[in-house]
Symmetry: C2
Subunit: 142 residues, 2 copies
Amino acid sequence: MTSSASDLKAALAVAGLRLTGPRLAVWEVVSSASDHMTADEIASEVGRVDPTVNRSSVYRSLALFDELGLMRQSSLGPTDASHWELAHPDEQFHMRCESCGSVEHHTGDLVDRVRDHLAGDHGFQATRVDLLVTGLCRNCHP
Amino acid sequence: MTSSASDLKAALAVAGLRLTGPRLAVWEVVSSASDHMTADEIASEVGRVDPTVNRSSVYRSLALFDELGLMRQSSLGPTDASHWELAHPDEQFHMRCESCGSVEHHTGDLVDRVRDHLAGDHGFQATRVDLLVTGLCRNCHP
DNA sequence: ATCGCAACTGCGATCATTTCTCAATAGTCG
DNA sequence: CGACTATTGAGAAATGATCGCAGTTGCGAT
């Protein structure tokens, strides 16, 4: 068991939950991915490692990890399937280029500044900021 | 025909498209709504006015209006159904209170500032900014 | 170790939302 | 009027996600 797996086990344990095969498989697939993945991609990859794992369990695991704050669900458009990635301590957002289709993950203080602005000016205490920017990336605009 | 309906007709005409019954009905329902609506709510309301209008046409009209920049599609969570509202010249974003469930539409320079920040620091030319903030509104947090 | 029980899973049905296909209809322009 | 094309209704189907249930299993307590 790798160290991140025992971390996962500990995180589950404090909530009275267990580290199971499906959950570990989902965790390993997502955490070893270089990019974010759709639930479907995750399910396929998990299925290659362990074909007995059911799709429902993948969804259940993802929802659980999201609830525990271990992963983050995001969407690249109202119609598209959700994407999943490990939660990052610095909140991040996505910039999608509508020309080349690339999706850049971006970390920075922008999200924090949005949060502060809302707290100050609007009395709104943000727990979660979902920001998706669509446009032309550096390589694609004139 | 109201003035906004003839504006709509003109906007369609420049694209070589027609103002039809279903399109007008969808337009009137959405533009007379005080809040944003789901496609399902729009379809129901359109159905009350004209029961012969098919659901598909509602979806088609909404997609068309979005493409023409007349309406705006947004989503309050990766799983939730899309919501539609008239496009607003000042871009706006949504603040959803996770306690009382209220959704506040907010207009302001925040979105523009995000846009400017990305253009300056990251060379990203944003055409669209989707911002959803979840948290506790003024009335619900301590 | 092994026991016991609640957490968890596989399975498959089911749901909700949205898109598709296609033949029929209807504006619009000459 | 006649042809051309946009548009529609109708319903099937694709997609993404969730649910209920009966059986299984992880893991702390014994």
